[in-house]
């Protein structure tokens, strides 16, 4: 499901977007995690209610944020969820939600590691996380 060349958290993306502003980048990353947690809870709720159109829309919403902060794997999975939600494939949706959760945990881990080392991680940090 995950493309091998996609990164858990690609730091280059934020650099391209806003330039070398570590504090701002970190803020965006944290904002993204907060947003992702809320959004994933909504997705699970909608999934449990079999509201697949809503699952699709919420996945689209979070996808752009994930792409913005460089959470490439999460963004890729959200795009897949958008497609599965569109066709109402419950089993696939379930599988993708599980994977998104897992990928978010890795993004979370990457950000924590980054904050503990207080330095930028090499761009290949999460490549083989899954």
């Amino acid at each position: 499901m995950i493309e091998p060349n996609l990164k858990v958290l690609n730091k280059d993306i934020m650099l391209d977007l806003i330039g070398d502003d570590p504090v701002m980048i970190r803020q965006f990353e944290i904002d993204f995690l907060k947003q992702a947690k809320e959004s994933l809870q909504k997705i699970i709720l909608m999934y449990n209610q079999d509201s697949f159109t809503a699952v699709k829309e919420e996945a689209h919403f979070l996808k752009t944020s994930a792409a913005a902060v460089g959470a490439e794997q999460t963004s890729h999975l959200l795009k897949a969820l958008e497609v599965s939600g569109d066709v109402g494939d419950k089993q696939k949706c379930k599988h993708l939600i599980l994977e998104i959760k897992s990928s978010l945990k890795q993004v979370h881990g990457a950000i924590i590691d980054d904050s503990s080392s207080n330095s930028s991680m090499p761009s290949s940090q999460g490549d083989n996380a899954l």
Binding site: I30, L33, Q35, Q41
Partner: protein
């Protein structure tokens, strides 16, 4: 003389010849001749006579033999021929019978006394066969006698008229007809006398009808009345037929008349009796109708009053309940809280009673309507059990539920009424059952299919308790409104006695029935059998809710019955089941979606932690345990799905499996602890006069683009969706709009179309609008341009690209 002598033989010959011809003529006429001289006893019998009496012509017949051959009854007639009283010219004629060849034949003997040439008195005569005439006469006599008997028996008169030679009608009738009209014997044939006695109203038509028949030859058929001299009225029905002569001219009429007075009298009496009966029935019906209307009116008044009172009382009671609810939320002393709880319970009970009164009134008034909709019996059962479990638990009563695994997911019927019946009966069972030191109170709810076909399912709901029971006598009247088993029952347990009446009526209304079996002190069983239609609406839904789901079951210490019931329920929903004998087999459960562990006692809870560790990440753990152990279990396994047992409903079981499989992510998100990642937010300066309007619903993207534009030196305003964007555009003079495409309320495409419309209407210059979208599908760019947008960039937009696109479209005045 010679001539004379010559002539003499000629005369003799002629005389002999004449005699001979005469003899032939007589013989030809079948007349026998005989002669007898008493003094000499000489006799002569012609051959024809002998032939007539069956003798041969040469038979030497004597008068005595003829007498002897005569039937004894008639032999005495022959005595006259030996009598001394024979005088010249005397005629002796009589009839007699002789048996010839076993057949009796009638003969007529005619004779006259004369003096023969010897001057002796001689009798000579004839004999003719009269059998045919006699038989015809006898038959005629019988016929007349039979007719007379029949006419006598039927009191039928006979009448006729004949046209005489003067062309006058000569009338006559028999004595029966004469007697019928109460006429005198001398009145027979006097048509004037008959006509005089006719009833004035019938006279003309009766006479005209006779005239009509005599003229036309048609049948005479007339009913008329006659008034006899002694009074009264005779009802006569007369019929007659016309007779014609050989020239087909009407010459006679023959008819009968029947006295129908007795029949008419009986008919009149019957009519009178009928009229009287009808009048009585009418009066009685009117009385009954009035009584019924009065009763209905009274019942209606009573029902209206009860309904109105119930309704009027319910409204303030709801207000009381609401107030008590609010009061309970405020800080109260324990005593006050207890009082509030008592008041709340009482108010709720009152509302239940009022609802019951409203229901029984509706049923009695025939206004209770049934709904026919798809519903789930398992949901109804689950709902009732969820409500009653706390009550059963509070009374320490063991409440158990057994549902037939083959009950369909949906049936068509009235869910509310079914729930009402089960709710009421289960409530009663719990009310009249208790746990004592000697006996554990038990209430069992069993649901099973009695029978089913392609149209209907008949389902039995059995509510069994081991409570106080009901005596046989009182069982009969239990389903009557306001009747409870005994007065002492009402005193001890309360209640209105409406519940069972409502249940009985509702079951009947649904085409079902409730059967009660009970013995005092041994408990009661209420069996409700209700028919339901097969669901017609859910035929396209999947039949099985767990189709293909692989579930492994591990029973640590629960009963085999519970294990089997759970297994049957899951298998009936299409789950693929495997039952493990022990925890050591867990490794083989890795390929399964869920592991369901049955554990009755908390002593085995410690084992559960190990089991959880051994599970693969994709398998879900569900633990089924007794309800009173759930809080303990929750402390050990806070995130595990728990299935409550005893009672367990089918719905809870299925939902637990679904929940364990569907909701796993929800729990694990707590792992994303963001507390440690908090950072001080830096506020974004917003310029006073913005040149760019950013329309974006995603806060992160908003923040990002604001930062980017700020970095590039542009000031901007923010709108959260298309509608907000239009409002901003109307109120400010922007040089560029950057908009997301997918947004709630109004998306970027429709916002652009609206702005273009408004610009056209007002003749304003078109503002550049650039789409910034996460969708990067083929055709998206074309779609953006088709709605009136000027350009299109994909998210995330890197700073360099943003600078380029803004510089391209941002127009300085």
């Amino acid at each position: 003389m010679a001539n004379q002598n010559k002539k003499q033989p000629t005369k003799i010959v002629f005389a002999e010849s004449k005699l001979h011809r005469l003899s032939h003529a007589i013989s030809g006429a079948d007349i026998g001749i005989w002669e007898f001289t008493p003094c000499t006893e000489e006799c002569y019998f012609s051959p024809k006579l002998k032939e007539l009496i069956g003798l041969s012509i040469d038979h030497p017949l004597t008068l005595n033999e003829l007498r002897a051959r005569t039937s004894p009854t008639y032999q005495h007639h022959f005595n006259i021929f030996h009598s001394d009283n024979l005088t010249l010219g005397m005629q002796c004629n009589f009839d007699f019978k002789i048996k010839i060849a076993e057949t009796e034949r009638w003969f007529e003997l005619r004779s006259e006394v004369f003096l023969n040439e010897d001057n002796h008195s001689t009798i000579t005569g004839s004999l003719t066969d009269r059998t045919q005439e006699k038989e015809a006469l006898t038959a005629l006599k019988f016929a007349i006698e039979a007719r007379d008997n029949a006419l006598d028996a039927g009191d039928i008169g006979n009448w006729q008229a004949e046209l005489n030679s003067d062309n006058e009608w000569i009338w006559s009738w028999d004595s029966r007809a004469n007697k019928m009209f109460a006429l005198q014997p001398e009145d027979i044939g006097n048509i004037e006398r008959w006509a005089q006695q006719l009833h004035p109203d019938d006279k003309e038509s009766a006479i005209n009808a006779v005239q009509h028949s005599l003229t036309t030859g048609e049948l005479y058929d007339e009913q008329y009345r006659s008034v006899p001299p002694h009074g009264g009225v005779i009802y006569v029905h007369a019929k007659a037929k016309i007779g014609r002569d050989d020239q087909n001219r009407i010459c006679r009429i023959d008819g009968v008349c029947v006295n129908q007075t007795p029949f008419f009298n009986i008919q009149a009496e019957l009519q009178e009796a009928n009229d009287k009966a009808e009048a009585r029935v009418k009066t009685r019906t009117l009385e009954l109708q009035q009584a019924k209307e009065r009763a209905e009116q009274a019942n209606q008044t009573k029902s209206s009053f009860l309904s109105m009172m119930s309704h009027e009382l319910r409204t303030p009671m709801n207000a009381v309940l609401g107030s008590l609810d609010l009061l309970s939320l405020s800080k109260q002393t324990p005593e006050s809280r207890e009082l509030i709880e008592t008041a709340t319970t009482s108010a709720k009970n009152l509302i239940f009673i009022l609802n019951d009164i409203l229901d029984i009134n509706k049923i009695e008034a025939g206004k209770m309507q049934l709904e026919q909709r798809d519903f789930s019996i398992t949901e109804v059962i689950d709902n009732v059990v969820q409500i009653y479990y706390p009550i059963a638990n509070g009374k320490q009563i063991k409440l158990d539920v057994t549902e037939d695994p083959t009950i369909p997911k949906y049936l068509e019927g009235d869910a509310v009424k079914v729930r009402q019946i089960i709710f009421n009966l289960l409530g009663n069972a719990l009310k009249f059952t208790s746990t004592t030191t000697d006996k554990l109170g038990e209430v069992q709810l069993n649901i099973n299919i009695v029978e089913h076909n392609s149209i209907i399912y008949k389902v039995a709901f059995s509510i069994i308790d081991n409570g106080i029971g009901i005596e046989k006598e009182t069982q009969k009247k239990l389903f009557t409104p306001f009747i409870q088993a005994q007065r002492s029952t009402t005193r001890e347990y309360g209640g209105t006695g409406l519940g069972l009446a409502i249940c009985g009526n509702l079951a009947q209304l649904m085409g079902g029935e409730i059967v009660l079996t009970s013995c005092p002190n041994e408990g009661a069983t209420f069996k409700v059998e209700l028919p339901f239609w097969r669901s017609k609406q859910h035929t396209d839904e999947p039949i099985y809710q767990l189709e293909g789901t692989k579930i492994v079951l591990l029973n640590l210490d629960e009963t085999h019955n519970t294990q089997e019931l759970i297994r049957q329920h899951l298998e009936s929903e299409g789950a693929l089941m495997k039952v493990l004998d022990s925890e050591s087999q867990l490794a083989s459960a890795r390929e399964y979606d869920s592991l369901l562990v049955l554990v009755g006692s908390h002593q085995h809870f410690a084992q559960l932690k190990n089991i959880q560790h051994k599970l693969s990440e994709s398998s879900h753990l569900i633990v089924a345990t007794c309800r009173n152990e759930i809080s303990t279990l929750r402390q050990i396994l806070p995130h595990t799905t728990i299935l409550p047992l005893h009672p367990m409903t089918r719905l809870q079981l299925i939902n637990s499996i679904h929940k364990s499989m569907d909701n796993e992510l929800c729990l694990d998100l707590d792992e994303l602890d963001l507390e440690q990642l908090s950072i001080e937010e830096t506020a974004q300066p917003i310029s006073d006069k913005a040149g760019i309007l950013v329309v974006e619903d995603n806060p992160l993207n908003q923040k990002l683009i604001l930062k980017q534009l700020s970095t590039l030196g542009y000031s901007c305003d923010l709108a959260h969706d298309g509608l907000d964007g239009i409002e901003h555009w109307k109120n400010a003079d922007y040089k560029l709009i950057l908009t997301d495409c997918h947004m709630p309320k109004l998306d970027g495409y429709d916002m652009t179309k609206k702005i273009r419309e408004l610009e056209k209407e007002s003749g304003e210059k078109a503002i550049p609008i650039v789409a910034v979208t996460g969708a990067a599908m083929t055709g998206d760019a074309d779609h953006c341009l088709s709605t009136g947008m000027n350009d299109f960039v994909s998210k995330p937009i890197i700073l360099k690209d943003l600078k380029e696109v803004v510089e391209r479209w941002y127009v300085n005045d």
